[in-house]
Symmetry: C2
Subunit: 260 residues, 2 copies
Amino acid sequence: MQEDVIYARAYDDQEEVARMIQKYDLLAIPVVDENDRLVGIITHDDAMDIIQQEQQEDVEKLMAISGAHEVGVYMRLSTWEHFKSRIPWILGLAILGFISGYIVQSYESILIQVAILASFMPMLADTGGNAGSQSATLVIRALALKEITTRDALKILVKEFKVAFLMAIVLAMVAYFRVLLFIGHSSTAGVIAPLKVGVAVAVALAIQVISSTLIGAFLPLLASSLRFDPALVASPMLTTVVDITGLFIFFSVAKLMLGL
Amino acid sequence: MQEDVIYARAYDDQEEVARMIQKYDLLAIPVVDENDRLVGIITHDDAMDIIQQEQQEDVEKLMAISGAHEVGVYMRLSTWEHFKSRIPWILGLAILGFISGYIVQSYESILIQVAILASFMPMLADTGGNAGSQSATLVIRALALKEITTRDALKILVKEFKVAFLMAIVLAMVAYFRVLLFIGHSSTAGVIAPLKVGVAVAVALAIQVISSTLIGAFLPLLASSLRFDPALVASPMLTTVVDITGLFIFFSVAKLMLGL
């Protein structure tokens, strides 16, 4: 008699069980109740469908779509059903976006003096969002595959800081030359020396890339340690958060370095 | 003798073969060469690994990470290797972001007159990015599952237009009240009647949501008809594109409706 069998409990998470079948290349796995009595089996084809469905749900969380988990329903769902599953995220994030608007508004006097600064806002926000999405995606995946746990948090943040530092150097240089190239055409450029604006934008972008990368790595780790699903805090939620921090960094740096 | 067997060709795409195993709940599938001679089999556990890997690659495309497809490598990759796999997208998108900067700069005279407009730029860009990501994700998935083909393009765009129209109504109302709430604190508000600014922002946001949703659905369909991978044009590429169109819409509407 073989006593060392691989089995699943009736109340185990379906994804965990599917991952066991995948890991051990099983044809099926027995499911037992709390008294070790066999209550059924899960076969390899169930496992494949479960893994696909769970990964699909993760993608939907990444892309801010609630519900509609069933496969092959795009055409069958009515306009109204599509609307209902999409509007909550869009509306919630738009309302969260009020905060970024508030930050911009509170630095309005700076913008009036150096209107050229407004033209760097989109690049700063997007680059932060992209850098944060990258680190968040990598950390979420590594957590899902149990390659890392929340106990590795410090090691991960140090690694992300190093990666972000290298990216920040490259981006700061590009941003600096970009400012010098464009600023000649601005009607408000005369107020401040172009070189100073270039340095300020470069420094702000460098800080934004580093902070966004760290936020992108930190939020999934935080969610995981609080027993929430890490995928929930990925972009677009993350995009909105690093927009807010990015605008604050940008205007603080500009105010300080340009003496406004 | 059973003549009607399910089989794969040696040069078939591995994902297609894995999907056949999943679809028909097979244990294994025979692989034959051009002369119908058996050259091997692909088993259910190979199929499971292939499907997981392909889905992972799709997520990485969605999140702008090239390479690093191998599972469980986060910790093993050096800082330099992480940097090399992440910087191309980040840098490429940042350079593409120059275009949005250029648009903002070309409307600088409007911003100097009505600085409050700058505070709506982040919400407008983010909301467009979110709406576009939603429709792109749904269309990419439906294409991948062969639920739709490029021949359904018109039907899909009509459906997305209807969904976007409903979302635009809700968001325009929220944006209008938001403007009225905030504008009192702006130093440049006196120049233009607040109600007029509110209407302009609401109209711009409505057009942005509709156009972003349609762009999000159209780009994957276009990529697919040109035999590119639809997932390539998902966010963050999409975010950058709808940022550019959104800023253009915003300033055009503001110029027209506020008579600047």
